[in-house]
């Protein structure tokens, strides 16, 4: 059932997550069924109203907002990781489905790839 790109790296401080997002968009651009799973520190990608002015970087919120336009099928977030980073539904961008990042979940996809 398509490919699952797993982003387990924080949005800032490393480029690995951004490059994983580019992979997901490339798959979707070639009409491959693709979903994203945010887990670990990666769930911080999903915070609403990211203000990056002080670190002189572009906010990644806009990049992620393009996911449905590219045809990404689902944006999933690991429930436990969201709790650990105190990320509740009010602080989260729209369209995220909470799930458990388990072997069962990964087993539903024909391929999986981690950010790094």
């Amino acid at each position: 059932m398509g490919m699952l790109i797993i982003i387990d790296q924080p949005p800032y401080g490393t480029w690995a997550g951004r490059e994983a997002l580019d992979m997901a968009f490339a798959l979707a651009a070639f009409d491959q069924p693709t979903s994203l799973l945010f887990t670990g520190a990666g769930v911080n990608w999903l915070r609403k109203a990211q203000d990056t002015a002080d670190i002189e970087q572009k906010s990644l919120e806009k990049n992620l907002a393009a996911a449905p336009i590219f045809g990404i099928e689902a944006i999933l977030a690991d429930r436990t990781a969201c709790q650990r980073y105190n990320l509740n539904s009010e602080a989260m961008i729209d369209g995220v489905q909470l799930t458990n990042a388990s072997a069962d979940l990964l087993g539903q996809y024909s391929q999986t790839a981690f950010a790094g």
């Binding site: 480029w15 490339a26 070639f30 790839a113 981690f114 790094g116």
Partner: protein, 142 residues
């Protein structure tokens, strides 16, 4: 007696290397995997360098004489087994890895892509992940 794998059990692989040489073991682990794969009668469809992995395709890497030169080791493997080695263009340009074409396009002072590596887009990885039986990732932790 040589060990051979029946055709029906042959597997094709796309290898993705995202860890850089000399700051991670990813290129070394991937090369060991690639050699074992070929020795067992399977095929490597292509090797895709992504993120920091593109440093493996730099012609300017100069390792101390008592250390393994991973770019040259990989280049020799790719040539011997006629496996395409591709560095992602977006990752490569960000990290200062360019071929003569990109040098001209961006009017840069030099190019540094090691043959037989090529520079291409993520489409190469997408194609590999569709066509190959398996795609294996070698990250910095590998």
């Amino acid at each position: 007696m040589t060990h051979s794998t029946p055709d029906s059990e042959k597997t094709s692989f796309t290898l993705v290397i995202t860890g850089a040489p000399y700051s991670s073991q990813a290129p070394q682990t991937a090369l060991s995997f690639a050699k074992a794969t070929v020795a067992a009668g399977h095929t490597i469809d292509r090797v895709f360098l992504y993120g920091d992995g593109v440093h493996l395709a730099s012609a300017l890497v100069t390792a101390p004489s008592d250390e393994t030169h991973w770019p040259k080791q990989w280049a020799a493997f790719l040539e011997e087994h006629e496996v395409p080695g591709v560095a992602c263009i977006a990752s490569a340009l960000r990290r200062g890895l360019v071929d003569s074409h990109e040098q001209k396009r961006y009017q840069l002072g030099a190019n540094n892509l090691l043959a037989p590596f090529a520079i291409a887009g993520l489409g190469e990885w997408v194609e590999g992940s569709i066509k190959s039986t398996r795609t294996i990732y070698f990250h910095a932790g590998a």
